[in-house]
């Protein structure tokens, strides 16, 4: 009897892969953006399955609720149309895609074969929820320097975005 956790994992993983494939196959950028949002929400579900509840919430709030909204605004403002259909070179379709898939397959096989050497999650660690308290203790003690640097990085990004978006006058 397959456990319920495995079923949920396969459903969410299938949704994520479906979203990623749909990102490639859609012609209009806004449909690609919607597929990417689907990928991010299913990844948030996977984080929740792994017990990282705070990261799941942050993924939806920041990635799904701010970064992707920015993408959608830009697509709507620039009125990005449907992509033109140019033909790929023969090398790309008959050589490139099979090679890329083979590469993916080799990596996946290598990971699957080495699964014995990976640290197996203990039964306690599987069901354990990482509390926000632990996370914040770590963030503000060991990682406080990168934390302050990221706040500086965000300030620089805000200034850069404002300068880039100014009209020339």
């Amino acid at each position: 009897m397959i456990s319920g956790v495995l079923v949920i994992f396969f459903v969410l993983a299938a949704l994520a892969v479906f979203g990623a494939v749909s990102l490639i196959l859609q012609s209009h950028p806004i449909h690609s953006a919607l597929s990417l949002i689907l990928v991010m929400v299913s990844l948030a579900g996977l984080y929740l399955l792994m017990g990282a509840e705070f990261i799941a919430a942050v993924q939806i709030i920041v990635y799904g609720g701010a970064v992707m909204v920015l993408f959608i605004f830009v697509i709507m403002l620039l009125n990005a149309g449907v992509e033109e259909r140019t033909n790929f070179s023969k090398m790309a379709t008959f050589g490139g895609v099979p090679l890329a898939l083979a590469l993916g397959g080799i990596i996946a096989a290598a990971i699957a074969r080495s699964s014995g050497q990976l640290p197996a999650p203990t039964a306690a660690a599987q069901g354990a929820l990482t509390s926000t308290r632990e996370l914040s203790k770590l963030l503000f003690s060991e990682f406080v320097y990168p934390f302050e640097l990221t706040s500086f990085l965000i300030l620089v990004a805000i200034l850069g975005a404002i300068v880039l978006a100014q009209r020339e006058n």
Binding site: S3, V5, F9, V17, A20, L23, I24, P29, S32, L36, V39, L43, L46, Y47, L49, A52, I55, V58, Q59, V62, Y63, A66, L70, F71, V74, L78, E83, E84, A92, G96, A100, L101, L103, G104, I107, A108, I111, A112, S114, S115, L118, P119, A120, P121, A128, T130, E134, L135, L138, L139, F143, P146, T150, L153, A157, I158, G160, A161, L164, A165
Partner: protein, 100 residues
């Protein structure tokens, strides 16, 4: 229970699909979205390892990756808007002024 290697294989598949989208799409915004997909795949690997080792360090790193991705998206989209205004097209094949 779900073995860690399942999560890693999923992360590799998503990363590979991100690379495919990056190489084959011609709209600059779609290429940028492929970059975000690759970053998400890496985040998944981080959280999977964080759960396997039982330490929350991986999740703290995921927070940093999300913050950096957000900052990069803001500045990158600003650049894209400027380039699109300049070249009047969102197709990367049209930004070829430096070509011989």
């Amino acid at each position: 229970m779900v073995p860690t290697s399942y999560y890693l294989v999923l992360s590799a598949i998503l990363f590979g699909l991100g690379v495919l989208a990056f190489v084959f799409k011609r709209n600059i915004i779609t290429i940028f979205m492929a970059i975000e997909l690759m970053l998400n795949a890496v985040n998944l690997a981080f959280v999977a390892f964080s759960q396997a080792l039982g330490k929350p360090d991986g999740e703290v790193f995921v927070l940093f990756v999300i913050v950096v991705a957000a900052a990069e998206a803001a500045v990158g989209l600003g650049i894209i808007i400027l380039t699109a205004r300049n070249r009047r097209s969102l197709n990367v094949e049209h930004v070829d002024l430096l070509k011989l």
